[in-house]
């Protein structure tokens, strides 16, 4: 294995070149969006492949930032992400812990959970249920119907099961009840795992587009993904972001606005990504083995 032959080196060379091309395909869009969004429109028009801004401008970002619609959607999305993730963690952790203990009826309850992974009532009955519980057109419609992801619940449960039983017994002898054991022993021990799940849940709230278009009617409740679609895919950048915008007489070109908007909406993901990365491989593997 140590001695590398000519054929070996050729193989490695081709392989690594291909992998670098693939990696480039994954990050190139962001480099391009970055440089165009910070470039003057003249630079963008005069060069067909702009990879670094020569005349820097932050007009597009200022225009977006001054738009009430954008800031409002950002605020709503941050709120939904924070509150939603807290709800997710509370519901998932409590139930996962309960199911990790040998309580009466555990098998039936586990089957109940797994069955929902196989069969979903469907979009319309779920919509009618959200309507019946009075959540339509409210932030809670994005949070409560998604309070538990069954897959995460099962992975978290296997994590709790891997905590040695002796800890429970010792605490019981010391006179603690199950609530105290959960709050004072299990949760502090599970911090890294809980952090990983909160990042996963947070990303899914941030990226959600389906629930907002399904459950929210009022434009003033739109989340960042809905606004982003309006700006980039529908192509109504200026119309969506104008309103009381002070830029309104002389807005930057829609192209640069679109690219800046994508980067702004992706920024939180890019910021949490390094933290996510530490944890996800483990989580996925655990799920693959147990699920």
């Amino acid at each position: 294995m140590k001695r590398s032959t000519w054929a070996d080196r050729l193989f490695d060379g081709v392989n690594i070149t291909l992998l670098l091309i693939i990696s480039l395909a994954m990050i190139f869009p962001f480099l391009y969006l970055f440089s165009v969004s910070f470039s003057s429109y003249e630079d963008f028009l005069s060069s067909d492949l702009l990879l670094w801004p020569s005349n820097w401008t932050t007009d597009a970002y200022e225009f977006i930032w001054k738009s009430w619609a954008f800031r409002n959607s950002l605020m709503i999305t941050v709120m939904v992400t924070v509150v939603g993730t807290a709800v997710n963690l509370f519901f998932t952790a409590t139930m996962a812990y309960a199911l990790s203990r040998r309580i009466l009826g555990r098998r039936v309850l586990m089957f109940m959970v797994v069955f929902t992974m196989l069969f979903y009532a469907g979009m319309i009955p779920t919509y009618l249920m959200v309507k019946a519980t009075g959540l339509l057109d409210s932030m809670w419609a994005l949070i409560l119907p998604a309070a538990i992801a069954p897959f995460n619940l099962i992975v978290m449960r296997s994590f709790f099961q891997s905590i040695p039983e002796e800890l429970n017994e010792a605490a019981l002898i010391d006179g603690a009840n199950d609530l105290q054991i959960f709050g004072k022993i299990i949760l502090p021990l599970s911090k890294p795992s809980l952090a990983a799940f909160s990042l996963f849940y947070a990303v899914s709230h941030w990226n959600n587009y389906f629930a907002p278009i399904l459950y929210l009617n009022s434009p003033e409740k739109w989340t960042i993904q809905v606004i982003l679609r309006q700006i980039v895919i529908v192509g109504e950048a200026t119309a969506t972001l104008s309103g009381d915008n002070t830029f309104v007489d002389n807005p930057p070109p829609p192209e640069t606005i679109q690219m800046a908007a994508i980067l702004l909406a992706t920024l939180p993901i890019l910021v949490v990504y390094p933290f996510l990365q530490k944890h996800f491989a483990k989580g996925v593997m655990l799920g693959a083995v147990k699920g």
Partner: protein, 320 residues
């Protein structure tokens, strides 16, 4: 306090010792049941009660009359599914997109994992991995947005084709329906290929290094090592994942498709989920769209359970 009432209610009835034992045990575990409560409520309200809502598929549901008073129509809504050429087309669209994904997007992570597995320098491997995992965490709006910026008529790809490659006019990637399916599949590959490698790389990590040494002794080239050592090692993983994927053949992803549907591609791009959305939410045809949803759900359930059973069977055989 809640558990006290449970116990008090259970005690008079417990003439047999068994009930008494159950009551005592539930009393002992009362705090755990308390922890169970929020999750249980969630599953009942948002996962199981909607399943009862399925009855409206057998009714002519009107929001004014409500669940109970809307008239029963038996299987009429289901009959409409098979009589409607529209639904048949939607069904075909769903299956075609799904099969294209299985043929092209399913093997992609396997290939990428094989390539990554051959990188000897661990630091380089980790850098490439971090980059290829990233798109998985982007929203579909961002991915479709990037695609529309790059592939529109004035976008970078068409600029390149026209000014550098001498094309006479831009290619209408976004409006010509012929491009719809290839674009959908390419987007899925771009977004998920890296993420999909995780499970295969883990399977490859379990290969005994002695096998490679033995192969080298026998004069195997790198390709032959991949063919005779690496691939057999991940074969059962591939088969199990493929079976599970086949069980999900009616799932093609709502957000991705919905974001790209337009007047040009609706005929070939409308899939079961988007159809249910248009019919049910936008046109308020609740009963019929619920019937379509139930039909999809039932077919999916049967397929998934069959796939699960097959995967387990195969998994067992793969161990020996």
């Amino acid at each position: 306090m809640k558990t006290e009432t449970v116990q008090a209610g259970a005690l008079p009835a417990s003439h047999t010792g068994k009930l008494r034992r159950i009551a005592r045990r539930m009393h002992k575990e009362r705090y755990i049941y308390l922890l169970l409560l929020p999750g249980l409520l969630y599953f009942i309200v948002y996962r199981y009660l909607p399943m009862f809502g399925i009855v409206i598929a057998f009714k002519d549901y009107s929001p004014f009359l409500g669940f109970a008073d809307s008239p029963w129509v038996g299987l009429a809504n289901f009959a409409r599914i098979f009589e409607s050429p529209e639904v048949v087309q939607v069904m075909i669209n769903t299956l075609v997109i799904s099969f294209l994904q299985i043929v092209f997007a399913f093997p992609a992570p396997i290939l990428l994992a094989l390539m990554l597995n051959e990188v000897r320098r661990q630091s380089l491997k980790r850098v490439i991995q971090s980059i290829v995992y990233l798109p998985h965490f982007l929203s579909w709006v961002v991915v479709v947005g990037i695609v529309s910026i790059f592939f529109r008529n004035e976008g970078l790809v068409n600029d390149f084709l026209v000014y550098r490659m001498g094309f006479e006019q831009p290619i209408p990637f976004l409006t010509n329906p012929d491009f719809f399916r290839p674009m959908i599949v390419l987007e899925v590959i771009w977004k998920e290929v890296g993420w999909g490698t995780i499970i295969f790389l883990a399977a490859m990590a379990g290969v005994n290094p002695n096998l490679y040494e033995a192969a080298v002794m026998d004069g195997a080239s790198r390709f032959r090592q991949i063919w005779h050592v690496t691939l057999p090692a991940i074969r059962s993983t591939i088969v199990v994942l493929l079976i599970i994927r086949l069980g999900d053949v009616l799932e093609v992803g709502f957000e991705q498709i919905f974001l790209q549907l337009n007047a040009f591609n609706l005929d070939i791009g409308n899939t079961l989920d988007t159809y249910v959305y248009y019919k049910g939410i936008q046109q308020s045809d609740y009963s019929f769209s619920t019937a379509v949803g139930v039909f999809k759900g039932l077919v999916g359930l049967v397929l998934v359970m069959t796939a699960n059973w097959l995967a387990k069977r195969y998994g067992e055989e793969g161990v020996y």
